[in-house]
């Protein structure tokens, strides 16, 4: 189903409100919506709510052959899905621009930041490594999917336990969860994304935009940061892009 268009009237109302430092849900400019993290019964399962946005992450693992270029490293795989359950505008099984961008951002935030030690996921060099797969499902869309997804992914990864592996000689044994306590991943740091949206050619800035706000924004800046105080701008030069008005689009570059 196609997204219901936003009427000019509503757009103007929203922009006017932002100009007057008012937001639809009564928040201030830098107020974040309440975040709730719920864990499932399984290892590596969690649901993150940011306001009405709801994201579910489930981590799973399997033994696969490593990449040729990195024979001693495990593989981290992220898969974010936008189903029509989240919003009627989303179509399942379709590679929308938004989906690609979100997946790419997630990878940059969590894989490229090396927050998970992939070297310890090696079982037999060049033959068997653990592939850690993070599946993220957006259950409800009320803006700021990126922040919710990043929180859900890193929490689920920290919560996850993989089966213990014993090596004796050239024999490898994978122990069932009951046989031996499973092993947590080694998480070096926890990067979390914070999104800022820009309005009126960058004159106004709001943190944690909701769905309505996202539809009238000019640009988006996502900053991933961690508690080790290493900050890196996820979108280098985002500011420059923001100055150039592009209607209602994410600025990834």
């Amino acid at each position: 189903m196609k997204e219901t268009p936003l009427s000019n009237c509503e757009r103007q109302f929203l922009l006017k409100a932002i100009e007057e430092k008012k937001r639809l849900d009564g928040r201030q400019t830098y107020d974040y919506r309440n975040i709730k993290i719920t864990f499932g019964t399984d290892y590596g399962c969690c649901i993150v709510d940011i306001g009405k946005t709801r994201v579910l992450a489930q981590v799973s693992c399997e033994l696969v052959a490593p990449k040729d270029s990195r024979p001693t490293e495990g593989i981290l795989f992220f898969n974010l899905e936008l189903s029509s359950m989240a919003s009627p505008a989303f179509e399942s099984n379709r590679q929308s621009e938004l989906l690609v961008k979100l997946n790419r951002l997630l990878e940059r935030c969590l894989r490229n930041s090396k927050c998970i030690d992939t070297e310890s996921l090696c079982v037999v060099a060049g033959e068997k490594v653990w592939q850690i797969r993070v599946d993220i499902h957006v259950l409800n869309h009320d803006g700021n999917i990126m922040d919710a997804a990043s929180i859900a992914a890193i929490t689920a990864l920290s919560h996850f336990r993989r089966p213990d592996v014993g090596i004796q000689g050239e024999e490898v044994t994978v122990y069932a969860l009951e046989e031996r306590d499973p092993i947590p991943l080694s998480v070096y740091h926890m990067p979390i994304c914070v999104s800022f949206s820009f309005f009126q050619q960058g004159t106004y800035l709001l943190v944690d935009p909701c769905e309505r706000e996202e539809r009238v924004m000019d640009g988006l800046l996502v900053i991933a940061m961690n508690n080790v105080k290493i900050t890196w701008n996820n979108q280098s030069g985002a500011f420059l892009n923001v100055q150039k008005t592009q209607s209602n689009a994410f600025h990834v570059r």
Binding site: A65, K67, D68, P71, T72, K114, D117, E119, S120, C122, V124, A125, G126, D164, I167, Q168, G169, E170, L177, E178, E179, R180, D181, S186, Y188
Partner: protein, 959 residues
Amino acid sequence: MLKSKTFLKKTRSGRVLKVVREHYLRDDIWCGSELCVECRQESPPPPVLQRDACRESSLCASRHYIIPDTNVVLHQIDILEDPLINNVIILQTVLQEVRHRSAPIYKRIKDVIHNASKHFYTFTNEHHRETFIEREQGESANDRNDRAIRTAARWYSEHLKKAPDGEELQVILLTDDKGNREKAEGCGVIAYKCEEYIKSLIGSPELMDRLALCTDDANEITSSKILFPEHLPLSRIQAGIKSGTFLQGVFRASRDNYLEATVFVQGDGDDGTEILIQGLQNLNRAVHQDLVAVELLPRNLWVTPSSVVLVDEGPKGDEDGDGDEEEQKMLKCDASESMLKPTGKIVGIIKRNWRPFCGMLSRSEIKEATRHLFTPADRRIPRIRIETRQASALMGQRIMVAIDGWPKSSRYPNGHFVRSLGSAGDKETETEVLLLEHDVPHQPFSQAVLSFLPKMPWAIAEEDMRNRVDLRKLCVCSVDPPGCTDIDDALHCRDLGNGNLEVGVHIADVSHFIRPGNTLDQEAASRGTTVYLCEKRIDMVPELLSSNLCSLRCNVDRLAFSCIWEMNHNAEIISTRFTKSVINSKASLTYAEAQLRIDDTNMNDDVTRSLRGLNALAKILKKRRIDKGALTLSSPEVRFHMDSETHDPIDLQAKELKETNSLVEEFMLLANISVAQKIYDEFSECALLRKHPAPPPSNYDILSKAAKAKGLVIRTDSAKALADSLDMAQVEGFSYFNTLLRILGTRCMMQAVYFCSGMDSDFHHYGLASPIYTHFTSPIRRYADIIVHRLLAVAIGADCTYSDLMDKHKQAALCNNLNYRHKMAQYAQRASVAFHTQLFFKSRGIQNEDGYILFVRKNAIIVLIPKFGLEGTVFFENKEKRGPRLLFDEEVPSLTVEGHTFNMFDRVKVTISLDASNIQHQKIRMALLEPVYRREHVPKRTTGGCAEVTREVKCINSS
């Protein structure tokens, strides 16, 4: 951009990858010479190559620059490092090849380049428009590189000719490759052999000595040099073993010498032979504990084990075999024919026994490299090369690494990072390391195991009382060390009124809770024993059982297995009875408390009277046992006083033994012997017993020699004779001598082992002088006792049997595991003590202590410091500098160092300090203070020749 190379590559997962490589060339790369005016830039760095590049050579009279090729750099780095050699052009091609082939040499050449006074210039010929060449069709990478070197050399000579007064400046290519030299001369480049050139240098004959012997022109670049012989395929090994040409055995690397190992070949029954393996080639990539096939060498190649201590260290690359060869020479020593041991070489590996190893990363000297060497904590394991991108994060941490393989072209095995254990030196990390290194299973109990625990709150149920006697009214008490929570034994003694006494030993009924075959039982069987470390206990069974339901605490009803004797006052047994029971202990005492009660004449309660009765009987039992020839040996045991807050050791004391210790011990021995007899009578084929074999007479050699030196005779023909002669061995004014002898005596002993009665005929327990023995009294912390409990329960009809219990082969396999776990637990315990000793000395600083020489080795003495029970090795020589003159006499044994003779039991004085320079192998460092020996080549008498005394106290303790 000159070149863009695009190629397609198929990845392992089947996808096709397009790789684009772009190579950029420039024409503003400076040649680096002072002479040149042509390629000067606006603000050039000061020129590197001098105008007067003068070295007098008979080959070329004029000034000249040198361009060495890759092999010259690799082999003649010593020469290049000499201050005499300067004005050298190192081509980028050469540098890249060197880096690829040998990290240490790369590091050295880089250092030379950075040294401004050497005038070494790196010319980036690969990015220079005129010197870059493309690889031609059918040309190998090596040939292309050689050509690149020649091209660059030619460019230089032509380039410099253009400069004013560049005419007389020559560029010389140094190469040992004949073909290369000819081709170079063909295109007008002056090329010499390295040797030729060095010889021609006037006024520096000493350089000739440094010239590395290069075989000849055939020496070409091969990055995959074969270092080891090929392993035979399994089929040929099996055929060889069948025909007797090969022998199969377990490979045991030497702890002290990385070039030496033995292979233990299991013979018939218990005995086996050891085959000595010496040298890297013969060791042929076998790793400690592998199952290997060996081929014996002809008798004329047999050697003796060297008593040299050799540690594989220093930055060695793949190809660097020189150091090894030198060390291999050290092994050679002439020895009498009789000392020769069967020597062999490894021909193949039957089964690898690799496990993940703990250790630390030794970072590669190249900063951005991803391949690093890992040094395992266990010195019997070779260093392992791993690939990691987080080397800087892993420095200073204890990490775990698994081996993946050992190709025959590699000096070290290849492995991968498993996980990080924490920073080195931390108490938790080190404890984890020593548990892992001793293969002590210490992960928390799994859900499957915990599911077999009884539900809480637990109470004795009706059906538990079947086949059980109610002994709750008896005045039972337990005596244990302070702080003990797993109380598995309790005692009672009462007057029967008929002039006899009733003595009972009550043991926790663990087999009631652990039913055969379930996961809990399997886990306990695999753990085999509880491991006690200085500040931690690794339980064999979950805590609910060990510290609560099975622990015979006072004033609660507990299930027990009781062994009750009727005895007269002479401690002669009139009758023995075994029964499952319920008891209610009246008091949980410590040894000290029990002793106070016995000694305090004012106390006359039931518990105290019971203890006194037991004490009187125990004394008689002990005397009788010693008369029969039980040994009292000694080992220096220490106890730490821990700070209650930080858990750091604050004091160290030798363990003290009280009368009550031996009280408990005597009754436990008695119970064990009684039970052993009972289960053997009942099940002659599958009783689990414990034996202590008499050591072979040769084990006593060291003891006899030591005693003979002091003019004493130790008789070793029987345990009784040994015990008596040890009692007699006294030296006037040397009270510690007897203890030293007993310590030494302990080292002569064999290990006591569990065995299945159906699989063996010799049951004798040598140390206790008992014809039969088993373990019955500590089922909470030993699995053997659980099996014995089950056997006894079946024997008295209190429990039913199961098939595995009656299968002697299964039981023999179980015994093997238990023996292994016990041994490892013991080592882990010692390592824990050693680590805490280190912590103690860290806080104490440097100390001077008296010690005694315990052993004398070829290049070292081993010193024992009785006050701390600390043992350390004193080396008198090391690899770097020539040590003092040593004379080793194996017969006495004695070691003469510069005129001073060290004998066993000599008193020495040493200073002890902690050497933390190597975090992984922190050492207790000792230096000999007295006696002082003098070195001849030290002209002035300094503070006295201090021998470096080191002792590695980390994970693994020898013996």
